[in-house]
Each structure stands twice: as structure tokens, then as C-alpha cells.
């Protein structure tokens, strides 16, 4: 690591004219960026504007187009080299986390340990160090557990703690949408850690679509549009609306709040979706009902059971208990049957459970319902293209290239396709798990409209989300989970951010024992 004493003015990281071209598409277009010591610098922009590409360049995953100049603490930096990044003290939490499911937490932790190549790793030492680091941040995660067995939030936690707890303090910590699946208090925990880091002289590059979060946390904000930098401003000089305008290049037209919440789940309508006594993983004997036209939001902290609820209801795996649609029981563990009965599900683990990687966007979009693009049992390419075109427009997929491999789209755009696939089937029951993770503000509004629209058209919708604002936006009712079971139901005027957070955080009497996550107030 460089020992040069950097002057206060000299940025920790300085990019000049950085471009990255993928085939025909310029993902980054001569981007300039300075990050100073001790600052939290946010980069915001719409889906597909090039944020993750920037992060991957810094991490050495991609190599930049020739002609750029990069410096770390005033010294020339070899952008596109993983070892240079590591040596310069850059640490990463990637959008897809970059964790290896089949390895244990501890093994993932010390992947990059500053250790001679062939010297012996002590497993016990590794476990205890990983355990300690996680504990320091307030996470109770077994370092010997497989990463694949953890919940999305726990995995994010592992990735964050891994980046923060190296041999030495990172010079620059780069986080790409770390909060996409973190519930409020968990996010707070992260922010505290970031502030501690900057206070101690480290710097942070932070990417998020939660603009409130960005405004509250970042010192400086750089707005990127279509691979180009729009501006860099101090966050205190900025309002939420102004930021959205900078991102989209236009103001966000406010949605009419009335239509969604206006349709209360009147108890005289027969429930379309009934869940009785479902127990699996993090859930105990869950009962719930959703009526046609209703959007039931499910809130809860990490470890409350929220992460398991959608999968269980949608029958992703077998479980005990009964799920019925219009009184007809559906077999758990048989998604095809569920889908046929009108139950559609968008899983939260996008890469693992939703993307047909290397297949085209078109194939990803149409897979769940091919009949409507067939003529006499033969697939019609023409119908399929038209249908795909329609949905790409409805969901504002960028770039609108239906024959491109899904892997080559940005995370947010992939998410839109996953939702499109589901909505195409016109399900009578919609089960959504983190439906807008990684989706930008503009597209988020679009998706919310689609969800509410589906409900208005008579579907019963269940939305599980760590994003409380989102729940308030779309839900008619909100169920708050605590300690693996429903604790409160909020209806009508009670559906507010404040009420939900209050309910989520209500102190618990007994601490759950067999729990890898936490569900108590971290400050408390």
C-alpha cells in the first residue's frame, strides 16, 4: 500500500475520462469522478446507467476502454486490475454480492486473506475471526454455515462485514446497492459502520436507489445518466425532487395515491388467497387471507420470518399447512400447479431463482406463458416479439433489445423482466418478494402502478418487502411479522411508515434462541 501522505485536497480516488463499451453499447462515457478522504460519495442514476459497470471496473472485473486516467491518492492506478485494487485498499460489496454459496461464511470471508499462497489456513482461527467480526457489527451468523443457507439479508451482511473487516481499514469501500434487501434497522447498522469508517479517515463510494437513504447518508452525490456524469453536488444543497429530476432528466409525475388504498378489503368479500397453519423455516403456523382487489403488504425485520413467507405461500418448497385459492387447495412444492391455479410468484433471489441466464430477454419474459404466443401449438416468433416489445415498453426496459442475453442487462432491468414474466400470466393471486429491489425511482413507480393495477383488475396481491415506503405506497393492509409469526395488522390510515416501523421494532420479550439473524432494536 502506498505510504504517500495525501494532502487534504488530493482525492483518494480520481477518475478521468473513463469509458466502457460492451459491443455496441457504451455503458460508461468518459466519466470523471473524484472521491475525497473521509467522505461518503453516492452515485445515483437510473437502471442501466452504468453504476455497476463503474464498480466492476474499479474491482478489476472489467477492463476499461483505452484512454482513461485513474489515480489513487495521487498515484497512477491500474484500473481494471483486481490485484491493483486490492493493493490500493479498495474493498467491494458488489450488487450480486460476489459470495460463493457453496462455501461457508468463514471461507468466503478469507478468500482474499493477506496470506501466503501455500501457508496453512487454520480453520478454528478463521471461524473465530469471522465470528468475531460479524459479532462486532451486531450480526449473529454462524461462520461455519454455508452462505447458500443464509437469507438474502444475512448474505448482504456477510458481504459487508467481509469488505470492512480486512487486515487493515479499507482506503475506499465501494458498495453497490447494499441496502436492496436490508430492512431499516439493518441498514442503519450499516450506515453507522460507514460513518465510523469515514470518521477514521476511510472513504465510501455508495450506490443505492433509496434516495432518502442517499440524501441522509452521503456527503456528495454524483448523478449519472446514460453512462455520462450529469453533475456532482453536495447532498445538503439538494432536495429529493431535484435529485429525481437530475436522474431522470424530468420531474417524476406524482401518482394518484387514491386508487390503490381506496379499495379496502371489505370482510364480506370471500378471500381469494387463504393461508392456514403454514410452517416452514422461519415461519410458525401462519394464517392469512387476501381478498380480490386487495394488496396485503408484509413487513418485518430480518429474521422475523418475512424472507420465508412469500416462498412458502407460493409453494416454492414443501411445507406443512394449507394454501387455498378460491377454496381450492394447491399442492405445496409444485410451482407449475400453483401457476396453473392462478398463483404467480416473483422470488427475491433473482439470480438463483428467476433468471434463465444466457437465455435472451425475450425467452426470459415469455417462459411462464407460451400458449399466448403460440399459434396452433406452434410458437410464433412474430407474436412473441410483439409481446416482448409491448412489455419492454410497459416496463421501460433499457436498452430495449429483446434478443440480448439477460445477463447483459443491469440488475434493475433484470428485475423488471422478472416481474413482466409474472404479470404476463395475469395471475389471480400475485405473490411478490422484494419486487422492486434494485429498481430506480422512475421504474419503481411504474411497477407499483402495475401491481396496483393488477389488484384493481381483481387479483389478490401479497407483497413482502423490506422497503417500508413501498409497502405504504401499494398496500391496502400491512401485516407486520415479529418472531416468526404475525404480530399486528395495520389497516387504512394506520398504514404509514411510522406505524410499520414502530410495530416492527416493538421490543420483544424473549430473544429467539435458534436464530441466525436478529430482530431486536440494535440501538436498544
Amino acid at each position: 500500500m502506498s505510504t504517500t501522505v495525501s494532502s487534504a485536497a488530493e482525492p483518494v480516488l480520481s477518475l478521468r475520462g473513463v469509458s466502457k463499451t460492451f459491443g455496441a453499447q457504451r455503458a460508461l462515457d468518459s466519466l470523471d469522478l473524484d472521491i475525497h478522504q473521509g467522505e461518503i460519495h453516492a452515485v445515483v442514476g437510473q437502471n442501466g446507467c452504468g453504476k455497476s459497470t463503474l464498480v466492476k471496473l474499479l474491482g478489476g472485473y472489467h477492463t476499461p476502454d483505452p484512454g482513461s486516467e485513474t489515480a489513487v491518492k495521487g498515484e497512477l492506478f491500474d484500473l481494471g486490475s483486481a490485484s491493483a485494487a486490492n493493493a490500493a485498499g479498495l474493498r467491494f460489496v458488489h450488487q450480486d454480492l460476489g459470495l460463493i454459496d457453496e462455501l461457508s461464511v468463514a471461507e468466503n470471508f478469507f478468500m482474499m486473506a493477506d496470506q501466503a499462497w501455500v501457508s496453512r489456513i487454520s480453520k478454528a482461527d478463521e471461524w473465530s475471526r469471522a465470528g468475531r467480526a460479524l459479532e462486532e457489527f451486531g450480526y449473529e451468523i454462524d461462520p461455519r454455515a454455508l452462505v447458500g443457507s443464509l437469507t438474502a439479508a444475512q448474505r448482504t451482511a456477510v458481504a459487508i462485514v467481509r469488505a470492512l473487516s480486512g487486515e487493515d481499514r479499507p482506503a475506499l469501500l465501494v458498495l453497490d446497492e447494499p441496502t436492496a434487501s436490508l430492512a431499516g434497522p439493518d441498514a442503519q447498522l450499516l450506515f453507522d459502520a460507514l460513518r465510523r469508517l469515514t470518521a477514521a479517515g476511510g472513504s465510501v463510494l455508495f450506490i443505492s436507489h433509496h434516495l432518502d437513504e442517499v440524501m441522509g447518508l452521503a456527503d456528495t452525490i454524483t448523478v449519472v445518466r446514460d453512462g455520462r456524469k450529469v453533475t456532482t453536488v453536495m447532498s445538503r444543497d439538494l432536495s429529493h425532487d431535484r435529485l429525481v429530476e437530475l436522474m431522470l432528466g424530468r420531474a417524476l409525475t406524482p401518482r394518484s395515491e387514491s386508487d390503490s388504498s381506496a379499495m379496502p378489503g371489505t370482510s364480506d368479500v370471500v378471500p381469494r388467497l387463504s393461508v392456514r397453519g403454514v410452517s416452514i423455516g422461519g415461519l410458525r403456523a401462519l394464517d392469512l387471507d387476501v381478498r380480490p382487489g386487495e394488496v396485503l403488504g408484509v413487513a418485518g425485520l430480518t429474521g422475523s420470518g418475512r424472507e420465508d413467507l412469500a416462498g412458502a405461500v407460493a409453494g416454492q418448497t414443501r411445507h406443512s399447512g394449507e394454501v387455498t385459492i378460491d377454496g381450492k387447495a394447491i399442492r405445496p412444492g409444485d410451482p407449475a400447479a400453483s401457476l396453473a391455479s392462478g398463483l404467480g410468484y416473483a422470488p427475491a433471489e433473482r439470480r438463483r431463482d428467476a433468471l434463465l441466464s444466457t437465455a435472451t430477454l425475450r425467452e426470459n419474459l415469455t417462459i411462464a406463458d407460451l400458449r399466448s404466443v403460440s399459434r396452433a401449438r406452434r410458437l410464433s416468433r412474430r407474436l412473441e416479439r410483439k409481446e416482448t416489445q409491448k412489455w419492454m415498453e410497459a416496463l421501460d426496459v433499457r436498452p430495449p433489445m429483446q434478443e440480448r442475453a439477460i445477463d447483459q442487462f443491469s440488475g434493475g432491468n433484470q428485475q423488471k423482466v422478472v416481474l413482466g414474466r409474472l404479470l404476463r400470466t395475469r395471475p389471480r393471486v400475485l405473490v411478490l418478494d422484494e419486487p422492486t429491489q434494485g429498481v430506480d425511482v422512475g421504474a419503481k413507480a411504474t411497477i407499483h402502478d402495475l401491481v396496483v393495477g393488477a389488484a384493481a383488475a381483481g387479483a389478490a396481491v401479497l407483497v413482502c418487502s423490506s422497503d417500508v415506503e413501498e409497502l405504504v405506497q401499494v398496500s391496502t393492509r400491512v401485516l407486520v411479522l415479529r418472531r416468526k409469526s404475525p404480530s399486528t395488522e395495520l389497516i387504512g390510515t394506520d398504514v404509514t411508515v411510522e406505524r410499520i416501523e414502530e410495530e416492527q421494532l416493538r421490543p420483544t420479550e424473549v430473544r429467539p434462541t435458534n436464530d441466525a439473524g436478529r430482530d431486536s432494536d440494535p440501538q436498544g
Binding site: G23, T358, E363
Partner: protein, 356 residues
């Protein structure tokens, strides 16, 4: 593949390197040994000898598309051959049609057994079918008593097996008809789409309503049946069972599938597979015809070099293109080794696509 433009792009050197290899081979030998090479016999003998390999490759293609290997197909073919040979001697009263049906049925059952092991019990397909393949070899050994077995076939049957129609060996018609059928199913039906989806991401496909378990079992059942058919075609051509048959077809079949997967729509596909088989065979034929002396080493050398070269060519083309051009890709296909603008990336995705 409906409009001209995409057809042209499908025939670009990058997407059809094997076609160019085929042209090169034909050109070279047409110049160096025109009389020997450009004779009907050359094409007759390739068509005859590769028809069965082609059928077997099509059998292997189905599980492969769904992300699974079937190593047992070679011995399953052998099982079909020994069953026909044995039954034709032991129970001639059954009639050749019934005998062939029994053989294909048994092979289909073997495929079902594989399907249960892999699709239902979740055993890795490579190891499961490796095991089955050994068991089948044992059965064939037992039935044949480790001897060559001459089948007692009605003359009409062998005449059809060895005959031609319009100058094309009948066996090749079987291969082509089967190719057409599988192409239609894979490319134009829901089932085909479900197969590919199960190969791309099994869990995502399942959650999208694909009955992946049935799909996987189904591909193994179909593969078994087709291998049985390949055995019937084989014995109609040759008339004899020997213990060395079957397994040796497997390598060229998989080589062709892999090579074919770098062609046209850049995923495992029917025409790429068949094209690869016949191109490699034509090259070998040409070399055998033109080499003098003890050139026993030339055949493997050509096979190896052609395989590596064709795949490498596909990759290099795609790289060069990514560097120079800025057109928008228009063909309705996706590379299993996605267009890399840098090679790191490609290495990252590759392992999950072809060659599961």
C-alpha cells in the same frame, strides 16, 4: 430465422464456422484428389457410416439441452443391437417388427431408469449414467456370451437397412427425419422451450411453471428410445452384434454436440450437431483417401485439430467483432459463450452454459 437478414447473420463465419470448415475441406480435397474425393462413393460411405452416429448424437442432444449428460447411450445402443440379434435367433417366430419394438422398448425403459435416477432422485447425471452404462455393458456381455452374434434377419429388413432411395442410404433418411422432428420440437414448441429453460437454470424454470422433473425424465426416456432406434438401424445395416460397438460412437456424438453448440444459434442445436458430424467425417475421409503410407495417426490428428480450430475460430471471430463493429445484434439467438467485450467475462459465464 424467419427473415433474410437474420438468416444471413446466422451464416456469418462466427456463427457457422463449421460450414466454412466444410467448404475448406471440400475445396482442398476437390483440388488435390478430385477423382477419389468427388465420387459418389465418398458421400455414400460417409452417409452410411455416420447415420447411426448422427442418431445417437440426436439422442444425446435432448438431455444435454436440459443440462444433463447421458453417458449410457452408447451401451444402450449396444443393448438394442444384442436384443435384436438374440431375439432373431432365439424367437424367430416373433417377427422382426415385434423384435425391433421390444428392443426399442427396453432401451426406453433404460432411459426411464436413468431419468428416475437423475430427475427424481437428483443424482448427478454423469455418474448415474456412467453406472447404468456399466450395467448395460454387463447385460450385453451376458446375453452375447461375450461373442459376436449374427442376427437372423429377414432379407427385406436388411435390404431396407442397406438400401438407398434416390441415391441416399435409407439410414440417413432416418437421421434426417429424426433431426427434423427434434428441430421442430426444440425450436418451435413449448416443450422445446421448457427443455432449454431447464438447462439454463433449473430452479428458475421450475418456478416459472416448467415441470422440470418431468422434463428431465422425459429427455432421458426419449434419449433411450432414440438410442434403441439407432441400434435397430445399426443392425439393419450390419447384421452382427459385437461387444465393441456402442461406446465408440459416444465420443464423436458429444464432440459434435459441443462443436454444434458453437454454431447457428450458439446453443446446443440439431443442425449444428449433424453438420459437425458430417463435416468431421468428410475431413477424415478425405485424409484417408489422400494420405499414403502408414497414416494411422492422421485421423485423430485431424479430428483433434479440427475440433479445436473450429471452436477457437468461433471465439476469435466474436472477439474481433466486439472490438471493431458497433452494429446491434439482430439474430434471435444467444451465445452460450456470450459476446465478450473482454475475455474475463466470458470465462466467468462459460462454465455454466455448455458443458454442464
Amino acid at each position: 430465422m424467419t427473415d433474410l437478414k437474420s438468416a444471413a447473420s446466422v451464416l456469418s463465419p462466427r456463427r457457422a464456422s463449421v460450414l466454412y470448415l466444410l467448404a475448406l475441406i471440400t475445396l482442398v480435397f476437390a483440388i488435390t484428389i478430385p477423382d477419389l474425393f468427388l465420387s459418389e462413393i465418398t458421400f455414400q460411405s460417409i452417409a452410411r457410416s455416420q447415420a447411426v452416429v448422427g442418431i445417437l448424437a440426436l439422442a444425446a442432444l435432448l438431455p444435454f439441452v436440459a443440462g444433463e449428460f447421458d453417458i449410457s447411450l452408447g451401451t444402450n445402443l449396444a443393448l438394442s443391437v444384442i436384443l435384436v440379434a438374440w431375439l432373431s435367433n432365439a424367437y424367430p417366430g416373433l417377427g422382426i417388427m415385434v423384435i425391433c419394438l421390444i428392443a426399442v422398448l427396453v432401451c426406453t425403459l433404460v432411459g426411464f431408469f436413468n431419468g428416475i435416477l437423475v430427475g427424481k432422485l437428483g443424482i448427478n447425471s454423469f455418474i448415474a449414467t456412467l453406472g447404468t452404462s456399466q450395467i448395460l455393458a454387463a447385460i450385453a456381455l451376458k446375453i452375447s456370451n461375450n461373442e459376436q452374434v449374427l442376427a437372423t434377419l429377414p432379407q427385406a429388413f436388411t435390404e431396407v437397412g442397406r438400401g438407398r432411395f434416390l441415391g441416399v442410404p435409407n439410414s440417413l433418411f432416418v437421421t434426417l427425419a429424426l433431426g427434423l422432428l427434434l428441430w421442430y420440437v426444440l425450436q418451435w414448441t413449448k416443450v422445446g422451450r421448457h427443455l432449454y429453460a431447464s438447462g439454463f437454470n433449473r430452479e428458475a424454470a421450475r418456478l416459472s411453471g416448467v415441470r422440470t422433473e418431468r422434463v428431465v425424465i422425459g429427455t432421458f426416456v426419449a434419449a433411450g428410445a432414440i438410442a434403441g432406434l439407432a441400434g435397430v438401424v445399426f443392425i439393419a445395416q450390419v447384421g452382427t452384434f459385437s461387444n465393441s460397438i456402442g461406446m465408440p460412437f459416444l465420443f464423436p456424438a458429444y464432440a459434435a454436440i459441443f462443436l454444434g453448440a458453437t454454431q447457428f444459434n450458439m446453443r446446443p442445436n440439431v443442425w449444428g450437431t449433424l453438420l459437425a458430424i458430417f463435416t468431421l467425417a468428410l475431413g477424415v475421409q478425405g485424409l484417408q483417401l489422400s494420405s499414403s503410407g502408414s497414416g494411422f495417426w492422421i485421423t485423430p490428428l485431424f479430428n483433434g485439430a479440427a475440433l479445436v480450430a473450429a471452436v477457437m475460430f468461433t471465439r476469435q471471430q466474436s472477439k474481433r467483432r466486439a472490438k471493431v463493429v458497433d452494429e446491434v445484434p439482430s439474430a434471435p439467438a444467444v451465445s452460450p459463450q456470450p459476446d465478450p467485450s473482454d475475455d474475463h467475462e466470458a470465462a466467468g459465464v462459460r462454465a455454466d452454459t455448455v458443458g454442464r
